[in-house]
């Protein structure tokens, strides 16, 4: 009951085609207050389409979604701050004038715009026209714009796209700070390191299908691997093949890479091998990174 009340977004069977191209197919997802979600996927997987559907920029062919337990009406729109693709502002207006338009739309006149621009390190250019900004400055202005009206939910589509390494670190730190304030964040990205550092949940899309969803931790820990080496890899392979904890085995030149169904300490395999008269000379547990897991999922099939 409590969980249902905390539900910020519920997506049911959302489907969108562009002509014959399937952009999103029967997407179901539920996002709760305070969660930081990363929407992952290669280019063309449907990340931006999903966000555009959720923001009413494009219309779904099928399915529905609810923000805050209801329709995406005026009230719920005021509770969401979002950037979709590139930052879109009036090029002939300066930062303050552009933010005043956002304020006006959100009926939120109490925000301290100077403070917001200071937060995103743009205060020194507040009177410059938008067209004169670098991409990083545009991105930072867009983040400031999303914060107007203190929305409960923030949506960022590739927020570090096109930025230099310094800019990426700046934006990432800003996002982490925002996340700490308890806001719900939904972020589409194909930069896995970024998602791993910022997000606590991920949804992985491939060609419009949601292929994996859950906590970052659970996605990474549901497949542990361990490297086991000895002088007789063939015999070790036979022994491990009968073990119920082993999911799969890959033979490498120096050792066996064993994928496990759950986290098993190295000592267990040491005992198992010793019992069969084998001495292990290499034991190393490895946890896959989000990048490895993502590539494994996306490349499958």
């Amino acid at each position: 009951m409590c969980q249902a009340m905390d539900e910020v977004l519920k997506i049911n069977n959302l489907t969108k085609h562009y002509g014959r191209i399937r952009a999103i197919h029967q997407l179901d997802l539920s996002i709760h207050a305070g969660e930081i979600w990363g929407i992952l996927g290669p280019n063309g997987s449907g990340k931006t389409t999903t966000l555009a559907l959720l923001l009413d920029i494009i219309r779904p062919d099928q399915g529905s979604f609810e923000w805050f337990g209801g329709k995406y009406g005026k009230k719920s729109r005021q509770q969401i701050g979002a950037i979709l693709e590139t930052p879109n502002f009036y090029p002939y207006l300066n930062a303050l004038e552009n933010l005043r338009i956002i304020q006006h739309i959100k009926h939120s006149y109490k925000d301290d715009l100077d403070h917001l621009l200071t937060t995103v390190n743009l205060i020194h250019r507040k009177n410059s026209k938008f067209f004169s900004y670098s991409l990083g400055m545009k991105q930072r202005l867009a983040i400031a714009a999303t914060l107007i009206g203190d929305p409960q939910v923030l949506i960022f589509d590739e927020p570090t796209n096109g930025l230099d390494p310094m800019g990426i670190v700046e934006i990432r730190n800003t996002l982490i700070d925002i996340g700490k304030s308890g806001k719900t964040i939904i972020m589409a990205s194909h930069i896995l390191d970024e998602v791993e550092k910022v997000c606590d949940h991920v949804a992985i899309l491939k060609k419009g299908d949601l292929i994996k969803t859950g906590k970052v931790g659970s996605i990474l820990t549901d497949k542990f691997t361990i490297e086991l080496g000895c002088t007789n890899l063939e015999k070790l392979h036979i022994i491990l093949s009968d073990d119920k904890n082993v999911h799969s085995i890959q033979t490498k030149p120096e050792w066996l890479q064993v994928q496990l169904n759950e986290e098993i300490p190295g000592a267990y395999f040491n005992r198992l091998a010793s019992a069969e008269g084998i001495t292990l000379d290499h034991i190393r547990s490895t946890k896959p990174t989000l990048e490895q897991e993502f590539l494994a999922l996306v490349n499958k099939g």
């Binding site: 923001l55 009413d56 920029i57 494009i58 219309r59 009406g73 005026k74 729109r77 005021q78 969401i80 979002a82 950037i83 979709l84 693709e85 590139t86 879109n88 502002f89 009036y90 090029p91 002939y92 207006l93 004038e97 005043r100 338009i101 956002i102 006006h104 739309i105 959100k106 009926h107 714009a145």
Partner: protein, 266 residues
């Protein structure tokens, strides 16, 4: 409503194109008729060149000049204001920020109506000033003789504005939208009417095309005096026909524009 109108004002008050077009419209609307002073001899059936400036005919001549100026300055401005928002993707950002699609449509419509009211106000003031200072034996009653032109001017302005809005949302690219707006009114509809419709049916129904009906709300006063152009019927729609036909098309254009705003991808 005022909230949406203020939003449009915030967007455009600092826009150079907006400022230039409004200033040029105002200057031209207030001065273009002065060309009439140069016509020392006017073709019959006009009595003399004072007819351009005196009541009640000043309402007709100023309206005809306004017909061209609203078509060019106000109509093109509305196309620019709509298509430019697609180009800059600011319409979609407005939706993301919190406006509904209906809000967006209403904001554009209200801005268009405001521009029409401004154009009509300039028309009224300029006509009054010219009339008051140039009518021999001026009497206040003379002002009211042809005042029916005021609502017709407003409707005509709205016809151009809503057509501009439709072109802006239909074609979305500033250059293409403006080209289609201008080319349709100046050439395509003329070709359809004279080159196709009239050639095929030789029937007066060729007058009932949308922008022709809008133009006929403030027709060329000299053309109306000359009449017919050897046609078996009046070339111009009667005032009543022009009002009804324009109103029908305006309602249709509003409906199509609204559907495009509400149903289309942004």
């Amino acid at each position: 409503m005022m909230h949406l109108l203020k939003l449009e004002w915030l967007k455009y008050k600092s826009n150079v194109v907006f400022q230039v077009m409004i200033i040029l419209f105002t200057i031209c609307m207030g001065s273009l008729i002065l060309i009439g002073k140069e016509f020392k001899e006017v073709p019959p059936p006009l009595p003399d060149n004072t007819v351009f400036f005196r009541f009640p005919s000043v309402w007709d001549y100023q309206a005809y000049i306004g017909n061209w100026l609203v078509f060019f300055f106000i109509g093109v401005l509305v196309v620019y204001m709509t298509a430019n928002e697609f180009r800059n993707k600011t319409l979609r950002q407005n939706i993301i920020t919190g406006l509904t699609r209906t809000d967006l449509f209403m904001a554009k419509l209200l801005m268009g109506i405001t521009l029409c009211l401004y154009a009509t106000l300039v028309y009224i003031i300029s006509s009054l000033l010219y009339g008051i200072f140039n009518t021999p034996d001026f009497a206040w009653e003379l002002i009211f003789e042809n005042m029916i032109m005021i609502p017709k001017f407003l409707l005509m302005s709205f016809g151009y504005v809503i057509f501009g809005l439709l072109m802006g949302i239909l074609f979305r690219k500033s250059g293409l939208s403006m080209f289609m707006y201008l080319i349709y009114i100046m050439f395509i509809e003329l070709i359809l009417r004279w080159g196709v419709h009239y050639q095929l049916w030789e029937h007066k129904s060729f007058r009932y095309y949308p922008m022709n009906a809008v133009e006929d709300l403030a027709p060329n006063p000299i053309g109306k005096l000359v009449e017919n152009f050897q046609l078996p019927f009046d070339l111009f729609l009667s005032p009543q026909e022009a009002v009804i036909t324009s109103s029908v098309y305006i309602v249709l254009f509003i409906w199509v524009t609204y559907r495009l705003f509400v149903k289309g991808n942004m």
